[in-house]
């Protein structure tokens, strides 16, 4: 072990950003592991500065380390230069805290935040020297599990992962460790352990299900293959979010991370129900933390980190019921210490300048809004309940208040979209300037000029949303639309950026794919695919080659309209919102009818069956 440390250090001299790999940050937990203890390797399949920005990892890392019987250590994907150095010296993937080979841990858990990190999961398993397929693992090998938003449906990883955790890990992860402890001393088989955690609920073991396919590649049968395994796995959630574990000590990285600040999680879930948004469905129902608890968490985090910024994070932060009261309470903690409060996600319909003034006392640069679609018609289709007049009013307030840059996010390729809707994006951006800025009398304008950044991404149909049956636009259609939009943006004050269409296609394939994609992933990793979310590495041709080798047509997953009665690869996962509700929402989308938010009127989505949260406010 010590040997690896010396060699590992030697690699650091030769790589960019060695601070990614050194660990020993303030707040990191270093425990002596004794034989009777269990070990959990928490793996984030991306680089350090991305992984260390992720709140879920911080929660579960500290939670597991609070157990006396468990050591939890972090693992990140080494960047290409570091990987080359490590492979060159035959150094396996190591944990950050103790430089222990990942393969020596009892449980190796990956968090799946986005589909484009799947190739990194494979690559990290390979680097770790862990047999890639569950069928190749035996006594002495760790259990490989996955959690996080993509784990609700990660059939494409089915052959590689022993079990998936569906939902929130704050309770079930502890139960799994307890079960492991019991199993370890029992002399039982690997399957015995897996069966024991299936009984906990929220645990999906892919090998306990048989999947048969029809000749047309659709699913014929998807059934459990042994007693004691439920047909559907219901997600686990924390019902009382106010009492839920929140770390009060955080690791403070040396290097700058993507979200380099305290993240105060106000609530889980979202009351809105945008029809494209997976998070809006899988995290239901909305559960809030009270002002008092949040203030306490904030106080400890400020004391224990020394950060100069705290962001109030949630899916739609400005929907927090007592936002005004919370901000006042937090400002008492932050003002004297020169800590900035920030609101990451703003909705144009409840934006108030007073709020903005309060939270961003120091830096005034840009604001970001996401109207998502260019016309009211299409916004109604996707249930983004934002009207143009709100956006104009908001921009006017913002420009009048000294902001001079507004970013607008849109999606291209949404269901029912026409070229009029695409042009609507250009028109809307122009109106923000004409009516939002130029309607302010020149003497009242704070800045000389303003700029608008329009960013578009391509719509990716996601499981568990009303659009799960929708086809994605073909790459040629996506590119035509982006070009058309660019031609229609003529103002020099508007900058237009768009996302890569190849990546969006791949994202759709892995979002909606089935377990036959496991072999494609394994082949793709052998061909060198990794860090697909990074343009430095993404290589579309390699992916096409991998699909071809396995005789799989990516269009089958991405570009096909699925009939309602077809068995979906993710039907095993019960998120609490039944298919019947999603079908109803899908039909309403085509009629252009909107659905009100949870607090306006309950739409009966089924999440009330959990027995808590917004459904019982």
């Amino acid at each position: 072990m010590a040997n690896f440390k010396t060699q590992y250090e030697d690699c650091l001299r030769r790589v960019q950003k060695p601070a990614r790999y050194i660990g020993n940050e303030f707040g990191s937990v270093h425990k002596e592991k004794t034989d009777d203890m269990m070990s959990f390797a928490f793996c984030f399949p991306d680089v350090y500065e991305v992984g260390m920005s992720h709140l879920g990892m911080k929660i579960l890392y500290h939670m597991l380390n609070e157990r006396d019987d468990t050591v939890c250590e972090r693992v990140f994907a080494p960047w290409g230069d570091m990987e080359d150095e490590m492979r060159g010296r035959a150094i396996p993937l190591l944990s950050m805290e103790s430089y222990t080979p990942v393969r020596e841990f009892d449980i190796v858990g990956f968090t799946l935040q986005y589909e484009m990190s799947y190739s990194n999961v494979v690559n990290m398993l390979d680097l770790a020297g862990i047999p890639l397929r569950t069928s190749e693992r035996g006594a002495g090998d760790p259990f490989v599990c996955c959690g996080g938003p993509c784990a609700y449906h990660a059939e494409p990883l089915a052959e590689l992962v022993d079990f998936f955790i569906l939902g929130e890990g704050e309770e079930v992860n502890n139960e799994i460790m307890d079960a492991y402890k019991k199993w370890r001393g029992s002399g039982g088989s690997r399957d015995d352990f897996l069966l024991s955690i299936v009984a906990l609920g929220g645990v999906y073991v892919p090998k306990f299900y048989d999947v048969e396919f029809n000749d047309d590649n659709t699913i014929k049968r998807f059934e459990p293959n042994r007693p004691g395994v439920p047909k559907r796995v219901r997600k686990r959630i924390i019902l009382d979010f106010d009492k839920c574990y929140a770390p009060e000590k955080l690791i403070v990285p040396f290097m700058e991370t993507v979200h380099d600040r305290i993240q105060l999680e106000l609530f889980r879930g979202c009351i809105r129900g945008c029809r494209f948004c997976q998070a809006g469905y899988i995290y239901r129902p909305v559960r809030e933390r009270g002002v008092e608890r949040l203030t306490k968490i904030a106080e400890s985090c400020i004391k224990n980190t020394g950060y100069d910024e705290m962001s109030m994070t949630s899916l739609s932060t400005s929907d927090y019921r007592n936002l005004q009261e919370l901000i006042d309470s937090l400002l008492e903690l932050t003002v004297d210490k020169r800590i900035n409060l920030s609101l990451p996600s703003l909705r144009v319909d409840n934006f108030s300048m007073e709020l903005m003034e309060k939270v961003q006392k120091v830096k005034k640069s840009g604001l970001t809004f996401a109207p998502e679609a260019g016309t009211q018609r299409l916004r109604d289709v996707i249930n983004k309940n934002v009207v143009e007049s709100d956006l104009i009013r908001t921009s006017k307030i913002a420009f009048g208040g000294g902001y001079n840059r507004i970013k607008l996010y849109f999606m291209l390729g949404l269901p029912t979209e026409t070229y009029d809707d695409v042009k609507g994006i250009a028109d809307l951006a122009k109106k923000v300037i004409d009516e939002g800025f130029f309607s302010i009398p020149p003497e009242e304008r704070r800045g000389r000029s303003v700029s608008i950044t329009v960013s578009t991404s391509f719509f990716v149909p996601k499981p568990f949303t009303p659009f799960q049956w929708e086809p994605q636009n073909l790459i040629s259609e996506m590119e035509d639309k982006a070009r058309f939009l660019k031609e229609n943006i003529r103002s020099k004050k508007i900058v237009y950026n768009w996302h890569n269409s190849d990546i969006s296609l791949l994202e759709a394939v892995f979002a909606k794919g089935d377990r036959r994609l496991s072999e494609v992933l394994i082949t793709a990793q052998k061909l060198g695919c990794k860090f697909d979310g990074w343009s430095d590495f993404f290589d579309y041709d390699k992916w096409l080659e991998a699909f071809k080798i396995h005789n799989i047509n990516p269009a089958f997953y991405a570009n096909r309209r699925i009939p309602y009665d077809e068995i979906l690869p993710w039907d095993y996962a019960d998120i609490g919102v039944p298919k019947s509700f999603l079908i109803k929402e899908h039909k309403k989308a085509y009629e252009g009818r909107t659905t009100p938010g949870c607090r306006e009127k309950c739409s009966g989505c089924g999440a009330a069956s959990f027995g808590g949260g917004v459904c019982f406010e």
């Binding site: 060695p18 601070a19 020993n24 040396f254 980190t305 020394g306």
Partner: protein, 226 residues
């Protein structure tokens, strides 16, 4: 208000922390320690803090220096105690005191260099001595202002002691020009040496460790800066 001089060590893996990251680390540690630090005026107030003689990434040190302004009423011992409790383990405050000497008077720094290799033929020490006995060794020095420039390494070498062989490798002490007037990063000298040894059939070092031992001021009568 008073400016205090904090001497600290940067050891272990902390040697891979860049200067900018170190600054951020101190800012946050001071916040955690709740020390009464003075902020600059202006649009973006920041803690008043200056580090003399930034250390290269990959080099450890036992004599780093930061001048930080505190509001009155806090004892040096308390600054040291509270900061050590809130700094990451690889960074330790060694002393807190009056900044009597200006960082402008710094002219040199002494390093302990360890070349990671064996000395099978027993002539490593002589080879190192021979290297430093040369009147001229061309090196490339990069600066922001002038870009890449060829220079003579020996213009920067103030002293190089005869090496001794330890369990780790070939160890020797090297004093180089340092400070605002004339400065050389130690790794440039060490890499030139390794190249020389390699091309003169000397030991082939797989790597090296550099540790800054002391900073010197007053050219005519060198004393340890603290």
């Amino acid at each position: 208000m008073s400016k205090r001089r904090l001497m600290f060590s940067k050891l272990g893996m902390a040697k891979y922390i860049s200067h900018l990251d170190l600054l951020r680390c101190f800012t946050r540690s001071i916040m955690r320690a709740e020390l009464p630090v003075v902020y600059s005026q202006g649009f973006n107030p920041h803690q008043k803090m200056t580090f003399s003689l930034p250390l290269s990434v990959g080099v450890t040190s036992g004599c780093e220096c930061a001048d930080i302004e505190f509001r009155d009423g806090i004892a040096d011992a308390e600054i040291m105690e509270r900061l050590n409790a809130s700094l990451p383990p690889d960074i330790r405050i060694l002393s807190v005191g009056d900044p009597k000497i200006s960082a402008n008077d710094i002219f040199a720094a002494e390093y302990r260099v360890t070349l990671l290799c064996d000395d099978p033929d027993g002539n490593a020490a002589r080879a190192v001595d021979n290297f430093f006995a040369q009147p001229e060794v061309a090196i490339i020095k990069r600066t922001k202002k002038k870009g890449e420039q060829e220079m003579n390494l020996m213009d920067f070498v103030i002293g190089a002691e005869t090496p001794k062989i330890t369990d780790e490798g070939i160890e020797f002490y090297l004093t180089l020009s340092a400070g605002g007037q004339k400065n050389l990063k130690p790794e440039i000298a060490v890499e030139a040496l390794i190249k020389y040894l390699r091309s003169n059939r000397g030991p082939d070092a797989a790597g090296y460790n550099i540790h800054r031992i002391k900073i010197l001021y007053d050219k005519n009568n060198p004393k340890i800066f603290k």
